[in-house]
């Protein structure tokens, strides 16, 4: 393993610990976060050449603390000049503690930091960017390239998120119940969004973005370690592992997408599947059962089928019925319709789609037309299927999806001409 990768993993793991101790010491999340980022950058450049220090945590705390102290001093000096106050300010007294000898803290600040970065006052884009930087220890440039935006754009999103935290006075502390449960839901959603961003990109030339999946799994693992009894945290981790297990099978070498039914299941990651199934089996015994647990259970049923035709659709339909009760939303209805079609025939699935045509969130969505096209094709109505595939292909903003839908349409078109 290359040293820079070892260093990168170490820095990402230590980042929230270092930030936590600094915020506890100085307050001022925004300035501390900048100081930690500078220390991480210094380490990322220096350690691969000079070697990893004996106490990497202490090194980072010392460097970050020094930056923080320098900044506070220069601010004090500026204020003094501005206020024309002649009085001596004992500049050293408040920063006198030697930081480098500190052992890593006994309690873990990762969760408190996550609650802060995923505060509902921030937009999802801001929550994601700040979480990856402050908790994930990624640099602004890494986050920018993962989201395919210029570094300046990402830097501004992070700056703005931190300004907002400062302006709204969001505290660095664990929220109390019942707010805590609601806030944890937001944290999990942000981790889920990071995962999806990486997963949907994990093909072809976008490997850098696929790194987001690894990062989302790592952070969710950390939350699971801190909250082992929370069923939804375990459910989300299981869902990520079971979904990511299909990564190698979901695209062909030329980047074309392979639907679940046609995937080469020998390429699925057996280790991730075993871990995911064990997690979800345990999570389902915890109450209340939430949407991540149920989605993980559905992914587990797929994972347990050795061949697509062995899939236990009756169990999947039952799980979707439960999911629709727990967290009704049109995307779930869409997936439910596919499962119903597999169990009871395509017409039963198509009937379920009718309700979605009136739903503003779905009516113009390419996925609705894509599912309709598949079910029409299953039902043997090739003419209508062709037209739905073409509509879906026009609506999607994903190149591989458009390619997939166009090739399905072309296949039907050829078929229609030759018959």
């Amino acid at each position: 393993v290359r040293t820079d990768i070892v260093v990168e993993d170490l820095l990402r793991r230590l980042a929230p610990q270092v930030l936590g101790v600094l915020v506890r010491r100085h307050g001022r999340f925004d300035a501390c976060e900048d100081a930690v980022q500078e220390a991480l950058l210094a380490a990322a450049v220096g350690w691969p050449q000079d070697g990893i220090p004996d106490n990497p945590y202490g090194w980072l705390v010392t460097v970050a603390d020094r930056r923080m102290t320098d900044q506070l001093r220069s601010e004090q000096a500026r204020r003094r000049r501005e206020d024309r106050v002649a009085a001596e300010v004992p500049a050293d007294s408040s920063f006198a503690r030697a930081a480098g000898d500190d052992p890593p803290p006994e309690h873990d600040d990762t969760l408190t930091l996550l609650f802060l970065c995923c505060h509902p006052a921030l937009s999802p884009a801001a929550q994601i960017a700040l979480t990856l930087r402050a908790v994930g220890g990624l640099t602004t440039s890494e986050i920018a390239s993962a989201f395919l935006v210029p570094e300046a754009t990402m830097a501004q999103r992070i700056r703005r998120a931190k300004q907002r935290i400062k302006a709204t006075g969001i505290p660095f502390s664990m929220p109390a119940e019942p707010e805590r449960a609601e806030r944890l839901r937001v944290v999990l959603h942000v981790l889920y969004l990071i995962f999806n961003e990486g997963y949907s990109a994990s093909s072809g030339p976008d490997l850098q973005r696929g790194d987001l999946t690894r990062e989302a799994i790592r952070l969710t693992r950390a939350v699971h370690r801190l909250l082992p009894d929370d069923g939804e945290v375990a459910g989300l981790l299981a869902l990520m592992l079971l979904t990511d297990a299909r990564r190698a099978a979901r695209t062909r070498s030329d980047g074309a997408l392979v639907p679940l039914a046609e995937q080469d299941r020998s390429l699925w990651n057996g280790e991730a599947i075993r871990e995911g199934i064990a997690l979800v089996t345990d999570a389902l015994s915890r109450r209340p059962v939430g949407p991540y647990q149920i989605q993980a259970a559905i992914a587990a049923v797929h994972a347990e089928a050795a061949r697509a035709e062995d899939t236990d659709w009756a169990q999947i339909v039952a799980l979707y019925e439960l999911l629709e009760r727990v967290s009704p939303n049109p995307v779930i209805t869409l997936n439910h319709a596919v499962a119903v079609a597999m169990l009871r025939g395509p017409r039963a699935g198509l009937d379920m789609l009718d309700g979605l045509d009136d739903d503003d969130r779905m009516a113009r969505h390419h996925r609705l037309e894509a599912v309709r096209a598949h079910l029409l094709e299953m039902a043997g109505d090739e003419h209508a299927a062709l037209s739905s595939y073409r509509t879906a292909a026009r609506r999607t903003t994903s190149l591989p999806e458009r390619r997939y839908l166009e090739s399905r349409a072309a296949r039907l078109g050829q078929h229609a001409r030759s018959s």
């Binding site: 210029p150 093909s203 894509a370 994903s398």
Partner: protein, 120 residues
């Protein structure tokens, strides 16, 4: 989602605007660009040189033919583009509505394709 704003103008009509009207167009563009930069939505953009500076290239049977001037003899030309990333098409349309060229000519908002995708 990332969007591209395609900005159209009639160069002759733009020249015919009063100094004040033209300055208002530039000032409005400055304001929106500043706002989008501040919000972290701005990705980039550029203006295009006058349509007369265009080279149109066609290759037929491997033989390139290069001609001066735009392909289409239109009165309204693409004079610039910019890209931003925002939460919804409603927000993207709102930005387009405020782009000053929309008052005089038209702007188009188009979603960018992404290389990411989910198997179906």
């Amino acid at each position: 989602v990332k969007y591209m704003l395609l900005i159209y103008q009639n160069p002759a009509a733009f020249q015919a605007l009063s100094e004040e009207e033209r300055n208002a167009v530039f000032a409005d563009v400055d304001t929106i660009m500043k706002e989008l930069t501040e919000s972290g939505e701005w990705i980039g953009g550029d203006g295009l040189a006058d349509p007369s500076q265009t080279k149109t290239v066609r290759v037929r049977d491997g033989v390139p033919a290069v001609t001066d001037g735009p392909y289409l003899e239109a009165k309204e030309h693409l004079v610039g583009y910019c890209m931003f990333e925002c939460e919804s098409i409603e927000r993207a349309t709102e930005i387009a509505t405020r782009w000053p060229d929309a008052r005089h000519w038209a702007v188009e908002v188009r979603p960018l394709m992404s290389a990411a995708g989910t198997e179906m």
